[in-house]
């Protein structure tokens, strides 16, 4: 089974998986709108149709979906990047899962409200005072002027200092890695992906990986890996052969 050809039928997108990734990378599809669970279910269904467990496909799929999920989760909690980065990976995953669950519940609640509004929307009631009602005279009890002073003090109080640590850790755009890898390949014909991303956060590594996929899709690089979990080697594709290959294999990122 070829993961990139996995046919998807989601609310936000219909078509092969590789096209979805491309559109996400080009920011033509908002990742927030993509139902990743739907992709997983579709993949598992396809997998179940087969006689044999396709380990290669599973591995590739896991990598891609993990990257998508992390991107999506980061997109949802951009401002929390710093806070989450301080946590252990398991804690961060737990925290993200908790918040995603909270958001999901609120989406459910929003769905309930939408249904309720549709069902109750034809209830008309008076929005203003009654036509012949006695004029409403709202007399105000005497007020303490000190309340005014307190409110001004409140408005003049310095807000608690906000940590700006996350500014430095802000999620780098894919383009940043594209440039970085292109620059690297202009100096060297090949490099070791794992060495390049060493020391980066997991989210940054995921982005770097997506940048790698984008370069491969544009046929500017070829990727090889000696064995699962072995270092990923990235080589520059020479211009002539690049032109030939342009139309044929847009994606070819399978573990060797």
């Amino acid at each position: 089974m070829i993961v990139r050809e996995l046919e998807l039928d989601l609310d936000a997108f219909e078509g092969p998986f590789d096209l979805l990734l491309t559109l996400v990378l080009k920011e033509e599809v908002d990742l927030a709108d993509v139902d990743v669970a739907g992709i997983v279910v579709r993949f598992v269904e396809r997998l179940a149709e087969r006689e044999k467990l396709d380990l290669d496909a599973c591995g590739e799929f896991l990598v891609l979906v993990a990257a998508l999920l992390e991107l999506k989760a980061r997109g949802l909690f951009e401002d929390e990047a710093a806070e989450l980065a301080d946590l252990e990976p398991e804690e961060a995953a737990e925290e993200l899962a908790r918040r995603l669950a909270e958001y999901r519940r609120m989406k459910e609640a929003a769905g309930w409200l939408a249904e309720r509004l549709a069902a109750e929307g034809d209830r008309f009631f008076r929005l203003g005072p009654a036509p012949l009602a006695p004029a409403l005279e709202r007399r105000l009890a005497p007020q303490d002027p000190e309340a005014l002073a307190n409110v001004v003090r409140l408005l003049a109080a310095e807000p608690p200092a906000v940590s700006l640590a996350h500014m430095a850790l802000r999620f780098p755009p894919v383009a940043q890695f594209l440039e970085r890898f292109r620059a690297l390949l202009s100096r060297r014909s090949r490099f070791d992906f794992d060495t390049e991303i060493d020391g980066l956060s997991r989210a940054e590594q995921a982005i770097a990986f997506l940048a790698l996929l984008e370069l491969r899709r544009a046929n500017q690089i070829s990727i090889s890996q000696a064995a699962p979990f072995a270092p990923i080697r990235v080589s520059r594709v020479e211009q002539e052969s690049a032109a030939v290959n342009e139309r044929t294999h847009a994606w070819n990122v399978r573990s060797a």
């Binding site: 008076r126 012949l132 007399r139 105000l140 005014l148 408005l155 003049a156």
Partner: protein
């Protein structure tokens, strides 16, 4: 409760009368016959017949809801019989306090002098439209010219009623803010600076 229903159902105008009841209970101004006719999508004569029916049903002494023809059209009102109860409902105990939004808006106008809605919104960090409208309605603030002479936004200042409610002889009696700049321009600057920090 059974008999009147059957009586009403027998009347071909019944459904129309129910529609008119519904329109009248939602209206916040008397409804002219033309508007009722258009909304009910029926003939004028039938509307008038149905109104006659309703006027009989919603009649002083028979019902707490009374249908009345007034200058602008038809409207429901409370029966006179219930006027004492309505009086108690509307002259409810004086309102205790002001909402936080109202208090903040009032304090800004009181301490900074005439200000516009955009300025109040900037200092508070949220739109001030409804708070300003509420305070104007209660007579605690009032319009006071426009920013930059003519073209700008409307400015608001506090009223003598404000001074009465807060027990002040004049604005100069406002409590002093010892910890804050005494000068109005400096205070204004401080409030703007903090608001900017808060929204950052």
């Amino acid at each position: 409760m059974e008999r009147p229903l059957r009586l009403v159902t027998a009347n071909p105008l019944d459904q129309l009368a129910r529609t008119l009841e519904a329109l009248l209970v939602v209206a916040s101004a008397p409804l002219p016959v033309e508007e009722l006719t258009a909304a009910a999508d029926d003939e004028r004569e039938r509307i008038e017949l149905a109104l006659g029916l309703l006027a009989e049903r919603y009649h002083e002494g028979r019902s707490g809801i009374v249908l009345e023809a007034v200058a602008g059209g038809w409207a429901f009102r409370a029966s006179r019989e219930a006027s004492e109860a309505c009086g108690r409902l509307f002259e409810r105990p004086v309102q205790r306090g002001l909402s936080q939004a109202a208090l903040e808006t009032l304090a800004i106008v009181a301490y900074l002098g005439p200000c516009t809605r955009p300025e109040i919104a900037r200092i508070r960090g949220v739109a001030a439209d409804s708070a300003v409208a509420g305070l104007v309605e209660r007579g605690l603030i009032t319009e006071s010219g426009r920013d930059d002479g003519t073209g700008g936004a409307v400015r608001y200042r506090t009223t003598p009623m404000f001074e009465r409610v807060f027990g002040l002889e004049s604005l100069s009696q406002l409590p002093r803010l010892d910890d804050l700049p005494g000068d109005v321009d400096d205070l204004r600057e401080r409030l703007h600076a903090v608001a900017e920090q808060r929204s950052a």
